[in-house]
């Protein structure tokens, strides 16, 4: 753990608690009404995520991966099936499972520090000094200490997502749910954030479920990559990515994994075409 000047002992205590969750998704189905009829977003999907595991969900748009993420977050309810975090059913949103959205969703009426502090203020059993120390720690972790008093609109897209990451990490959730958080960023910034996220994951040991439609991104970040197929949303195939960290998105080994996944994705859509679906 990094050193920070003058941190109270209870704040250090708070930062030492590292307790990633185990997730169990069992036979989950969810459908939506749309203009063209009922869409089966998730069709009996089952999935286990280990404590501290980094899992990526990839697939074309509309394959239900975001729906699954929202269900784990407690923002949506499944039509059937069970979702358990550490054996307990998930019924509502809670700070043990924090979400990072595609948009930063930062609060413009607060400055950077206020945004990171928001979730911490809702956490009981901490003094205000602890909260400030913890917020400072995470701002340092994402490299934005100099910007703690900046207004949100003054930040670049990449910096905003960094603040959003610090805000999501600050209440020390057991699970971090990420919904295409880097999709709207330029390639250079994104590559920096891949490095940051891997470093932070190793340092803070979270269970991470990461949704993306970028296969390379998934292979770069995930220990396991789950390929989703749409209409109805199902897990089509599973890949274990066995590469040392930190991984470089441009490395040849990684390209090998990405190619394998893309091939499987293509094969599936071709089979579909032949079936006339």
């Amino acid at each position: 753990m990094r050193r920070l000047a003058a941190r109270s002992s209870s704040a250090s205590q708070e930062l030492k608690v590292i307790a990633p969750s185990k997730l169990a998704i069992d036979n989950v189905s969810k459908s939506f009404q749309s203009a063209s009829g009922t869409v089966l977003a998730l069709d009996h999907v089952s999935l286990q995520v280990d404590e501290g595991e980094f899992v990526c969900l990839v697939g074309a748009s509309g394959c239900g991966k975001t729906t699954l993420l929202n269900i784990i977050a407690g923002l949506e309810k499944p039509d059937s099936g069970n979702v358990l975090a550490d054996g307990k059913p998930i019924t509502s949103p809670g700070r043990d499972r924090l979400v990072m959205f595609q948009e930063p969703a930062l609060f413009p009426w607060l400055d950077v520090f206020g945004n990171v502090l928001f979730g911490l203020k809702l956490k009981p059993n901490l003094t205000n000094k602890d909260r400030r120390d913890v917020a400072k720690y995470y701002l340092e972790l994402v490299g934005l200490t100099r910007f703690e008093r900046a207004n949100i609109h003054e930040l670049s897209g990449g910096m905003k997502q960094r603040v959003a990451l610090a805000r999501a990490l600050a209440p020390n959730p057991r699970v971090l749910l990420m919904d295409e958080p880097f999709a709207a960023l330029d390639a250079l910034t994104r590559e920096q954030l891949y490095g940051d996220l891997q470093r932070i994951w190793e340092e803070r040991k979270k269970t991470i479920v990461f949704v993306t439609h970028n296969v390379r991104e998934a292979a770069c970040l995930g220990e396991r990559v789950l390929l989703f197929s749409p209409h109805p949303g199902r897990i089509q195939e599973e890949f274990a990515v066995d590469l040392p960290r930190p991984r470089d998105i441009n490395s040849v080994d990684l390209a090998g994994y990405a190619t394998k996944i893309i091939r499987s994705l293509r094969k599936f859509s071709e089979e579909r075409r032949e079936d006339g679906r």
Binding site: A73, G74, L75, P93, G94, R95, R97, L98, V99, F101, E103, A105, F107, P108, W109, L110, D111, F118, G119, L122, K123, N151, I152, H153, E154, R167, P171
Partner: protein, 255 residues
Amino acid sequence: MKRFLSAVLFFVVLLFLWQAFFRAKIWSSVLLPSPLQVANYLKGAIEDGTLGHATVITMRRLLIGYFIGIVVGLPLGLLIARWNLLRDTLGTTALGLQTLPSVCWVPLALLWFGQTEAAMLFVVVMGTLWSVIIATETGVRNVPPIYRRAALTMGSKRLHIWLKVILPASLPFIVSGMKQGWAFAWRSLMAAEIFVTILTGFGLGQLLHYGRELSAMDQVIAIMLVIVVIGLLADKIFFSPIEKFLHRRWGTSQA
């Protein structure tokens, strides 16, 4: 500094023009007094306390009524945004009454409350209330849903979300509604004071009215100036800093 100097220069030129028109004697001096006459009236009115007294009475009516309007309007706006039933009923009522020029409340207020302070307050409240309600409701409806979702996952719930997320997120709308409410309240109070003599207090509007009765044009112009200055001060002292803060935080303006 340069901006300040050019502003000062502008008003000096304006004064000179006024003086020039007065000197040219195009209109009788009963209709157009000189700047000096107006200044003399102001000096006298300040010295004998007439002006200070009238200003205090008017501002007290305005501030109390405005305060009531906001304290009642803000929660009502939130409630209306929260429940569709209230929106269809009270919300529609508010929308309708907001289009009513608030000076139209004066006859009703006089019949209900007589020539009393309550009538004045009532007019000011009616000027403020509907604007604040409508602006609050619009503000809440314009809060991006993602803020709510983000707050929910961080463990924020019902009342906390309303106070710490939805209310601050709608601030830009609420402040512009408060500003509009202020403008409506100020105008309707002046109209009411000019129309009606209230025995419990002699406000700026009444001074203006008696200036006309006495054909004292210096008094009429002086009081009009005072009313303009109060309006400007309210903007510069109260609303401007809030708006500047909002613009800086939200990044909505270069200034």
